[in-house]
């Protein structure tokens, strides 16, 4: 029988793998992918707690807001990546350490 714990473990694993991706990647797009994974792990927890708790709708509304914020974050983040690439010809996050051209 599937219980809350199963979903929490999956969410935790997604979060950890996202964290590892963010910490080890040098490619800015890869870092953004890691952030998406982290947000998805949190989202699984939100919906699972909603399902097995007293407020199912609240959990799902939170998940919707998180999805929305993730979309906004991805759009702005990728725009920044493109801008960095146009200036520095690289998207290595270690190279992007200047505030001016």
């Amino acid at each position: 029988m599937i219980s809350l714990v199963h979903f929490l473990v999956v969410g935790g694993l997604l979060f950890t793998l996202g964290l590892v991706t963010v910490a080890t990647r040098r490619n800015a797009v890869g870092v953004l992918m890691g952030v998406e994974l982290i947000l998805n792990g949190a989202n699984v927890n939100f919906v699972a707690f909603g399902r097995y708790g007293p407020a199912a709708t609240t959990g799902q509304v939170f998940a919707l807001f998180v999805i929305l914020l993730a979309a906004a974050e991805a759009a702005v983040g990728l725009a920044i990546v493109l801008a960095i690439f146009q200036t520095a010809r690289t998207i290595d996050v270690r190279q992007a350490d200047l505030l001016r051209e």
Binding site: T24, T57, Q60, A70, A71
Partner: protein, 210 residues
Amino acid sequence: MSPLRRTVLWALATAAVIAFVVAMGRMAIGPAAEEAARPAPGAVGLPDVLFFLLAAVAVGGAAAVAISRNILRSAVGLLAALLGVGGLYVFLSADFVAITQVLVYIGGVLVLVLFAVMLTSRITEVAVSNTSVGAFGGILLFVAVAPVLAAVAVLGPWSAREPAPLAPTTRVIGDALLTRWLLPFEVASLLLLATLVGAVVMARKEIKVE
């Protein structure tokens, strides 16, 4: 940094992580595990198999994102992870969230990511496209974080209730968005507008007047 110093630092980090995990196991997880009641294992049915399949797709995709050396393979792994998570939402009786996940994440975010990959990195050069700081640091971080989260998930004192039967959720979510969560909803639309304008302003090519 000299190689010797780097080796010493890595060894120290490894020792710290191992000490942390052992201490957690001894002091927090061990006593809690003895007190926790074990639920009797029930018969394995089709839902269980489906759940583990979806969870494997999600976690496997996430692992591909974290491990793969090729950024395009990472993107495909992200696709698998997002699809798996969407399936888990269906499992949790969150049909509207699942559809939103597919529409927004896979239809929007993933396409954006692929565009960024194509526009920026020299994807044919695998070595350049997705270098990572080092597998060792990643493994260290994973070992430090994953067991703790899993232990909290398994041993936490969740007062889980018997879930309600599956029902469509679109109507209640619409009600909730336009009553209790009206202000966040409106702020979110403002945020999306600002994002739209900001992304266009940042990503456009500046034409300099010579």
